[in-house]
Symmetry: C2
Subunit: 489 residues, 2 copies
């Protein structure tokens, strides 16, 4: 059936088409069912019905559909009914705990990318994966399929990459490692995420210095200039299936191991990394609770990377407390600058970890005396110069940066109620306080930590300063602090 497009300038978060009731009846389509809409490309959309706003020969399309088909009001599109996809039977298999083969996973990922599966169908799939798990081969197949339906970032030179599975407040090693390693010619096309449940993602932090949203061609240009980039991976479409799965996982904050592994490895395959360094922090309030679990997860990553013929080095690190002093985009950016400039007040734990991981990545890329080399690059200021180069290639500047990087104006010092020794600083609780203060949207909000685990403290000593942009948020952050008590001593 040929219908005329009407734009209601309607944004629905997923492809939606509105049909006149009579038109839907003629197509034997009910509310909530699927249609295929064809212009040059085609897309599958969920149907709503209307009477008043449409003629029978019209179809109203949400902005998501118009964008995907690159059409606008007045265009003609062909519309046909789409039966529930065959892949729902594979989802049922997964719910039953059966193993899926490559073809089945490939078709599932294809249907996820083409929006042929509804959110509820995806939730069923994720439940099956969450409860029943996936075999190593299934995860490798999922990774491959995700890459197959995504864009690739092809760079002529050999590239390296690093990744942390996250969960540690303040742990902003990426800008340091990328700067140190790319300073000696290692190519690192680093894509990062924005915060979902944390106070800041690497992309949120870099955004305080420069732009982070670029298309593939722009990224290639940045890398040609600076050997490396530090951009937001979210809009690049390296693994679009992953983005859609994560959207549905977020509903219940699920993060099944199989999906975690596939998600990370897919993005590394998409940039054609020759070698990847993976940081798995462990600790009571980290994603991975114990060293044993971290080693187990590392081994699983290794096995799957081997199937995928990806050179992967894993390192399990101490994630028992936040790393660095700043938590929140601006406060973490300040920590990074301090380390790069070797300022006296720089957070030594962050510097130490960044140097260690840098040395591993340098070694992986064939550099000798990697530990000494990493230190030399940082001490000499080469890392700072390299950081500057990347930021400038990303249309940013370090000019007047200290004036620009100001914590929020409102602040509140949290003082100790008694003397003692710091026993624990909970990553998740600290993140919750920083988010209550406005992170990550309010870039200057956050926390500056004055203490770390094992520090001796006296009564009324400042443990941290909370920063917020509005009195409401500062109050909310204080309340959250008092409720959660992130620091034990």
């Amino acid at each position: 059936m040929l219908l005329k497009v009407k734009s209601l300038r309607l944004s629905t978060g997923r492809p939606v088409a509105i049909l006149h009731e009579k038109t839907a009846k003629a197509l034997s389509i009910y509310v909530g069912e699927r249609i295929r809409i064809r212009n040059k490309q085609d897309i599958i959309a969920i149907v709503d019905l209307a009477k008043g706003i449409l003629k029978e020969n019209e179809i109203a399309l949400s902005s998501e559909v118009l964008k995907a088909l690159n059409i606008s009001e007045g265009h003609a599109v062909t519309v046909s009914a789409v039966p529930p996809p065959k892949t729902t039977s594979f989802i049922l298999k997964k719910l039953h705990g059966e193993e899926l083969n490559y073809d089945e996973i490939f078709m599932l990922v294809r249907d996820i990318v083409s929006n042929s599966l509804t959110e509820a169908e995806l939730a069923y799939f994720i439940s099956g994966v969450y409860i029943n798990g996936m075999s190593d081969m299934e995860i490798a197949d999922l990774t491959k399929s995700m890459v197959a339906f995504g864009k690739e970032l092809r760079i002529k030179n050999t590239v390296y990459d690093k990744h942390s599975i996250g969960g540690i407040a303040g742990n902003r090693t990426t800008p340091l490692i990328v700067s140190i390693c790319s300073a000696v010619g290692i190519i690192i096309p680093k894509t990062s995420s924005k915060a979902i449940t944390s106070a800041a993602g690497t992309a949120d932090v870099i955004e305080t210095f420069s732009k982070v949203e670029f298309n593939i061609d722009e990224i290639k240009k940045i890398i040609r200039k600076a050997n490396a980039c530090m951009v937001w991976g979210g809009a690049l479409g390296l693994a679009p299936a992953d983005d859609k799965i994560i959207q549905v996982e977020r509903i219940l904050s699920l993060d099944p191991e199989a999906q975690l592994i596939a998600s990370i490895l897919a993005k590394k395959l998409a940039v054609q990394a020759k070698g990847v360094l993976l940081d798995i922090p462990y600790g009571k309030s980290a994603k991975v609770k114990t060293k044993q679990e971290a080693i187990k997860l590392a081994r699983r990553f290794q096995k799957i990377a081997k199937i995928l013929k990806l050179k992967l080095e894993t390192v399990v690190t101490d994630g028992s407390q936040p790393i660095g002093n700043g938590i929140g985009p601006v406060l973490e950016a300040k920590d990074i600058l301090k380390v790069l400039r070797r300022e006296k007040s720089r957070p030594l734990d962050l510097e130490r970890k960044a140097l260690y991981l840098s040395s591993l990545l340098l070694k992986m890329a064939g550099k000798k005396n990697a530990e000494k080399l990493a230190e030399e690059i940082l001490k000499s200021g080469k890392a700072y110069q390299q950081f500057k180069k990347i930021i400038e290639s990303q249309k940013g500047t370090l000019k007047n940066i200290d004036k620009k990087l100001q914590p929020a104006k409102l602040s509140f010092p949290v003082n100790s109620e008694k003397s003692g020794k710091i026993k624990e600083i909970d990553n998740k609780k600290i993140a919750a306080v920083a988010r209550a203060a406005g992170c990550p949207a309010d870039k200057s909000a956050g926390i500056y930590l004055n203490v770390h685990v094992n520090d001796k403290i006296s009564k009324n000593q400042p443990l941290m300063i909370i920063y917020a942009e509005t009195p409401d948020k500062l109050k909310f952050a204080k309340e959250t602090y008092n409720r959660l008590k992130p620091v034990s001593y």
Copy 2:
């Protein structure tokens, strides 16, 4: 925030509200998030965003919202952001296999009924129940909660009810049992379903005689006149949570045991049945595969009924093949009339089963010599008169009924390819053929079975006749028959 209602005459299958982008921003609401809309009552709706079709002080509401709030264009409503409901954490618990307590289940059901949970969240809940199961106490709590949020059908007299868990083609005992038992004064407020995956539900069959859709007050009037009713339960709202759960289960054709039990018992509690007879057929192609499983399920029903203080009698019956000869609304209706009129060509297996179950229900209601009584009621024509009375109370008639109940004009006899003995007739495959022929929407379509298991047959003997309303459907039914081969001999 106070907004003016605009009606787009938009039907979305779930409550949807469209806000102007700027309004949403002011409320800190993103696409896909939830708002509470308040007039006198309130309802929760999912948000879409628009620019062109709305002013900033307007809100467009889907017909589902307008109906629920009983408002129209121009009304003012109060709108506020709603955080994800607390019950998502209970869903997570269920995914982890933990047991939920009454309060948690009660809140979940409340949120399901108020549309506070999205389809994806419901899919997560169903997955948890499907994979991890529910304890007896959880199922009882689920049943109670479903009833608590539904309408009740309160009748002064003591009422009885019967139910079959279904899955057997042609098995239309309900109209016979209801007629026989209510003929001697037993009150049976029978609500039935329409076919979802079968060729016909009891409501589809009764609809060939009379109306089946009534509201609670109308049903009370029917029962006052005729002691019993045979109506469609779908629109009554006895257990609205159940309807919403089933809607999401249908996506993958899931039917977790916990939900099956709660669904049945909730509807029996809602009509305040004093005693309930439950038929559990078993067989290779039935819902329950073996007698052992049927007995196990019966025991589970008993245990949960005991917690709910519901008097329940279970009976496990032979479900190894279709019961009766007709399959499809009109063809099953003809079988029922034949039994009620004691015609020579009546299906004796259907009669036998109906008499047996009737005797059990009569006994349950305190009647003596129940087996003889049931037979006497049927033989004497009292059951037929009682059936007529119910149909007439439901605004139907048996006048000219034989002329009205004609199978579809196009037909195709399936003949045996060799001589032998009928080994098996598969319920699911037979239903698939009947559905291919047009059931349940085409009421006169379906199958007339000429043989049953253990019948001896010669070559070229007619096994069944397939009826369809159009050549296409007849062809599709034949193809389906040839692909599935429902009869083994």
